[in-house]
């Protein structure tokens, strides 16, 4: 028996797109049908049954093609799991559980939107930008990384965005500086976007969200967390939000939250 959320997917592409960053494309028609932007899947990183690494890895959908039934993940090799994932060959099969979590919400039709991402945090925003454009929104992208070697999505986003603003710490691509500098630099454009979608490292997300909220823009953030189950049972991925006195599960109530709900300093 296969559980309805478990999919055995053929690997179509698994290639390094920037040093340490990979694109994984899977043939997954059932997943492609239902995966919404901002949602994620739990991937078994090693082929066959592995006890080490023990747990699946959560990766958000970076693009979905409903027509061809393929899904794309972008991931950074950080530890054992992602290292093993990077070794998987085209033609192999991966056990993928999903789609999981609560994704991004679209604003009123016709309003411009912004996607704001740092490093690997750009991954879910590529799908969001494409989804937003297909739903009639003008999309602006603000992306930052350490250098051009870790700047993801600059090319892909040009297809779905009216404009892609970039920044790198070393100035090797776009503005020299971090995401805050970039948002200041392009503040005029940012202010036109009534709704913003942010993903990246915790601190970068917190300052970007503060800036957007300060401009009176609606702001949704996609949180990253270590997870064990991915479906809300284990309570391993909790964070502090205004929704509950105690803890909130990132995997089910999120990973996308309204920025003002998230207690970034807690």
């Amino acid at each position: 028996m296969t559980l309805p959320i478990i999919h055995l997917c053929e690997v179509l592409i698994n290639r390094e797109v920037k040093p340490g960053f990979y694109e994984l494309r899977l043939h997954a028609p059932m997943l492609a049908k239902s995966a919404a932007p901002g949602q994620f899947a739990m991937l078994q990183c090693a082929a066959g049954k592995s006890t080490d690494p023990l747990l699946r890895r959560p990766l958000s959908f970076s693009n979905v093609c409903k027509k061809t039934g393929s899904i794309v993940f972008l991931y950074q090799v950080k530890g054992k799991g992602t290292h093993l994932l990077s070794r998987i060959s085209e033609g192999d099969y991966l056990d993928v559980m999903g789609p999981l979590g609560t994704g991004f919400k679209l604003p009123k039709p016709g309003t411009p939107i912004a996607v704001i991402g740092c490093g690997i945090g750009v991954a879910p925003l590529i799908y969001m930008a494409d989804y937003g454009r297909k739903h009639g929104h003008d999309v602006y992208a603000f992306i930052a990384a350490r250098s051009k070697d870790s700047l993801l999505g600059a090319d892909t986003l040009t297809a779905s965005c009216a404009c892609v603003y970039t920044a790198t710490d070393d100035g090797s691509h776009g503005v020299k500086g971090n995401i805050t500098d970039l948002l200041d630099e392009a503040a005029g454009t940012l202010a036109l976007c009534k709704t913003t979608y942010i993903c990246g490292p915790w601190k970068a997300m917190a300052v970007s969200a503060e800036k957007c909220l300060g401009l009176g823009l609606a702001c949704q953030v996609s949180l990253e967390s270590i997870m064990a189950c991915g479906i809300g049972a284990c309570l391993g991925c909790t964070c502090k939000t205004t929704r509950h006195i105690h803890y909130t599960r990132v995997c089910t109530e999120g990973p996308v939250f309204q920025a003002e709900e998230v207690l970034f300093d807690a």
Partner: protein, 317 residues
């Protein structure tokens, strides 16, 4: 055709099969049960329930280790009242025996929880959590002192009309001492093992990884030690045992049964494989059919030296 039944009775609780959810990883079952077939799980053991709601520990709460994981969730739960009023009714549709894992800071808190649950319908039994490594008071402290374990078990037994299972901590020098204390106090069953107290350190930050500093180690990494403890406990007591600790296949489940466990519980393995209960069930059935064993009970403790060969492989009858 050989009829290999997995149906059984565990301390008076009728089970469709011997596979239980381990308290904790499975939450209240509301996430995993909808993904499973009816009958995959023999009984639902819900997550540790305290009298008042508990917020749990600050994150990070989990950390992966070789063939295992650390958790320091800290018994986050909604408290017994909300469990009984809001969650229990939602579990009715799964038509499963429900065992409530109970965790108190004091003996009086355990008693208050049991008193509350005694008035609630559709509960098959209690599992006394005297082994949680992630709370400051109660928890494991109760499970490492045989006198306290005895007193707690005895007092709960005095007021309980349902089977009482005592869940043992592996963080002791001699598991048989606590197992015998629970048995002497009237426990109907013991379950073991809970997680092993453990930790990890972030070498970049030069600080412990977990928000709670220490946590409980689970997963296949602990299985051989858990199995040894079940073996030892089975040699020391006559009450049934629920064996657990890193079970992630029918083969490993069977090891625990052969070591003396009447039933087994699965926890961490659900994270990777939500279909694990069915796999174990089918694997056990196939093993029994292949070896012409009509009742699982014949395999319980079959590896123990003092047990006679009920279902020993290699015999024809």
């Amino acid at each position: 055709m050989h009829d290999s039944s997995l149906e059984m009775t565990l301390s008076g609780i009728r089970l469709n099969n011997p596979i239980l959810s381990a308290s904790g990883p499975f939450g209240y079952g509301l996430e995993y049960l909808p993904l499973m077939n009816k009958g995959d799980l023999g009984a639902l053991v819900v997550t540790g329930t305290t009298f008042e709601p508990r917020p749990g520990n600050p994150p990070p709460r989990i950390h992966e280790t070789p063939a295992g994981m650390l958790n320091a969730v800290g018994l986050e739960n909604c408290g017994v009242e909300q469990f009984a009023k809001e969650i229990l009714p939602k579990l009715a549709e799964y038509n499963l025996p429900i065992i409530v894992n109970i965790a108190g800071k004091t003996i009086d808190e355990y008693i208050k929880i049991v008193e509350y649950l005694e008035k609630v319908p559709n509960i098959a039994g209690y599992e006394l959590n005297i082994s949680c490594p992630n709370v400051e008071q109660g928890g494991m402290a109760f499970g490492t002192d045989p006198d306290i374990a005895y007193t707690l078990t005895e007092r709960v037994k005095q007021i309980s009309t349902k089977p009482v299972i005592v869940k043992l901590s592996p963080n002791v020098t001699d598991i048989t001492v606590i197992a015998q204390a629970a048995e002497a106090a009237g426990a109907d069953c013991i379950s073991l093992v809970n997680t092993f107290l453990a930790m990890a350190i972030d070498i970049e930050k030069q600080r412990p990884v977990l928000g709670n500093v220490v946590g409980g180690l689970s997963g296949p990494a602990i299985r051989p030690i858990a199995l040894r403890m079940v073996w030892q406990a089975a040699s020391a007591v006559d009450i049934p045992i629920i064996g657990m600790g890193g079970i992630d296949s029918w083969e490993s489940a069977l090891e625990f049964i052969l070591a003396g466990a009447t039933a087994v519980a699965v926890g961490t393995a659900f994270f990777t494989n939500p279909g694990i209960a069915q796999e174990i069930k089918q694997g056990l059935q196939a093993y029994m059919e292949k070896n012409m064993i009509d009742s699982l009970e014949k395999l319980v403790g079959a590896a123990l030296p003092q047990k006679t060969v009920g279902g020993c492989i290699g015999t024809d009858d």
